[in-house]
Amino acid sequence: MEQALIRESTGRQSPTLVSRRVSRDNRQTVGDPFVADPRMTCRNVNVYYGDKRAIKNVSLDVGRNEVIAMIGPSGCGKSTFIRCLNRMNDTIEGCRVTGEITLDGQNIYDSGLDVVALRAQVGMVFQKPNPFPKSIYENIAYGPRIHGLVDSKAALDELVENSLKKAGLWDEVKDRLHEPGTGLSGGQQQRLCIARAIAVSPEVILMDEPCSALDPMATAIIEDLIDELRQHYSIVIVTHSMQQASRVSQRTAFFHLGDLIEVGATSQVFTNPLHELTEDYITGRFG
């Protein structure tokens, strides 16, 4: 009966057609979390910090060449969720993940799976730009070096240049590649971090509030960049700004207190949410 309701509501496009939204008490996901040809799939994912359950039974797909935005009030588990996708939660003591997450059909929590290779395929950009205290060049070259992606200096130079170009930073830094990365402006540092992630040719890039420490100009540049990167990568972006989510993403997932409340096409979620909680959030009634 619940299932039917979800199916039914996905089909609706026009706001005028919705007579009744799903009630606040319903903690099941509404909308369609699945896509036809997914790059990553998550099924019944739970995350525990010690005894605390921070993510509750979340199922969600990440499609190819799409930007999917995670929104929700602070502490609802957005960061926790995307950190599952490249197993960054492994580095946190006491953090446990259950359920199944696959990348290209392969379970990434398989005991035989190599985390090193996984993280090369699923890159990550953090809230605060965190360039290494090395030169710009070395920041980019670091990933390819540890993965042994290139075998000559010339190839490495080329890779660095391409990565910086893709991140839209090449023109600004090409004359000072050997100066410290920490000397760049905040927005440039964040693009440097994006270039650093790109350099190991990932398939998916996770971004956890990548613009929250940046000014509006730098934010606009990064948003344009994200839109371009979609041609080559799947991007999962956590954001606090609903404008940003609607500008850059194709699909949006709304989290609340560890539950995935609603997933849908971005235009639909923002104009015609199916769940009362989603509506509360996007109309600014909480969070």
């Binding site: 290779a117 890159g123 990550m124 953090f126 965190n130 670091y142 992630a197």
Partner: protein, 462 residues
């Protein structure tokens, strides 16, 4: 009145001053437009009164006690018979000691020279006069202070500001004492060193290759010419410190890495304090350990390998010193490594770096300046270390590369030069000050560099 008692009275008086000032302020406030109209709260008026009561009196008290025994002694000597007054200075010193012993009741013989006895009695009389005068002056100064402030109390008296200013002054005075002491030490060492360099040329001290400070004390002694080339001594210090750092840097650094990056909370909470206990062991105990346990082990091991090991080898001293220094390096480095932001580690992990790659290629380079700082601090600690080397390193100043041989260090030489009977103006004694001066300059430079490096590191992340 005895000085101790006087001090208690002063304390009581200033407490009374506090009450009086506070009461007066309350009274003034009430008779004006209420207590709120006072510029400062009554407690500040009380504190101001107490300070004006205590501080000037305490200053006079300290000055007086610092000077009075000298003045009294001079007076007592001046009143002694001429035969005593015309003694040479060194014997006069003995005389003064004897008088003081009599005064304090430390009499070891039955028959005491009546002249000395008379002098001692005079000393006691003068002293009680002096203490009486001190009592009168201090107490009246305290009273005057209280009365003067009490008269000044009005609603406009800026007591709070004045109290703050006096407190600032007291704090400055305390820190000046530390600074002035340091300056005093440096100046006295400098002075003695200059005396030394009058007798031994500077470059033969700094660059001379032979160290044998035994001088002929009497003209008829033989075989001791005195050579003051400091190179072998500094070489010994360098070698022992180098061995110590060779032990301490890898062990300290690796335990710091383990503690901060791998160990779980429980282990860390137990082990870190334990490591720091190492730093709390008195160095003389380490010296013991070096001389009685490690040195024989080193020698026996060496001998069984067919090596010629002296019983007081640079190796044994250096090894033990290294163990002593481990906690300095591990504790400081651990703090520095912990200060590297987690976001840098996350950045490396997210690129697929393993734990050890992250540590080696990201965390350690980021922490390097701080680690260098901690190592430099440890080096200056090693260079200045005395007890271990006194007990475990030898006395022979060998200019050798062989760590199994006996060497001696700067601090050991300073100690041996200064114990025993000798004149204070012989080059042998003065050489200790010259060595101390050079040692001081070296460690000072190291500390300055270390602080500079550490500060530079701080700028990066805060």
């Amino acid at each position: 009145m005895e000085p101790q008692l006087l001090l208690c009275f002063l304390l009581l008086l200033s407490t009374a001053g506090y009450m009086i000032g506070k009461r007066q302020a309350l009274a003034v406030g009430r008779s004006a437009r209420g207590i709120r109209s006072l510029h400062s709260r009554p407690a500040y008026h009380g504190a101001l009164t107490a300070l004006w009561c205590a501080v000037p009196a305490a200053l006079i008290f300290a000055l007086w006690l610092g000077l009075d025994s000298n003045i009294i002694i001079r007076q007592v000597l001046a009143e002694m018979p001429a035969s005593f007054r015309e003694l040479p200075p060194s014997e006069q010193n003995l005389l003064v000691n004897e008088i003081k012993n009599l005064v304090n009741g430390n009499v070891f013989t039955n028959e005491v020279d009546p002249v000395l006895n008379a002098a001692a009695e005079r000393y006691i009389r003068y002293r009680s006069i002096s203490h009486g005068a001190l009592t009168v002056i201090c107490l009246s100064l305290g009273l005057v202070g209280i009365l003067a402030v009490k008269r000044r109390i009005s609603i406009n008296l800026r007591a709070r500001n004045q109290v703050e200013r006096i407190i600032t002054g007291v704090l400055i005075a305390c820190s000046c004492i530390a600074i002035l002491t340091t300056v005093g030490i440096v100046l006295s060492v400098l002075y003695e060193s200059i005396l030394f360099f009058r007798q031994v040329p500077l470059n033969s001290f700094l660059f001379g290759l032979e160290w044998s400070p035994q001088m002929a004390i009497r003209a008829d002694q033989v075989g001791s010419s005195g050579a003051f080339g400091a190179v072998p001594v500094f070489w010994g210090t360098l070698m022992v410190s180098a061995i110590a750092m060779f032990v301490a840097v890898p062990i300290g650094l690796m335990s710091a890495i383990y503690l901060s990056e791998y160990a779980n909370r429980r282990f860390r909470d137990v082990v870190k304090p334990l490591l720091e206990i190492l730093a709390g062991i008195p160095t003389v105990v380490y010296g013991f350990f070096a001389a009685l346990v490690l040195a024989p082990v080193v020698r026996n091991t060496g001998n069984s390998l067919g090596l010629d090991v002296s019983s007081e080898s640079a190796l044994a001293a250096g090894l033990v010193m290294g163990i002593m220094i481990i906690p300095f390096i591990s504790s400081l480095s651990d703090d520095v490594i912990n200060a590297v932001p987690q976001s840098l580690r996350d950045g490396a992990y997210a690129l697929g770096a393993t734990h050890s790659e992250t540590i080696r290629q990201v965390v350690l380079p980021a922490a390097l300046p701080g680690i260098v700082g901690s190592v430099l601090l440890a080096v200056s600690r090693a260079i200045g270390e005395t007890m271990i080397v006194v007990m475990a390193a030898g006395l022979a100043a060998n200019l050798t590369l062989n760590p199994l041989k006996t060497v001696t260090t700067v601090t050991v030489q300073i100690v041996t030069l200064l114990i025993g009977d000798q004149e204070f103006d012989s080059p042998k004694t003065l050489a200790a000050f010259a060595l101390g001066l050079v040692l001081f300059v070296v460690t000072l430079c190291l500390n300055v560099i270390a602080l500079y490096v550490v500060r530079k590191y701080r700028e990066q992340y805060e």
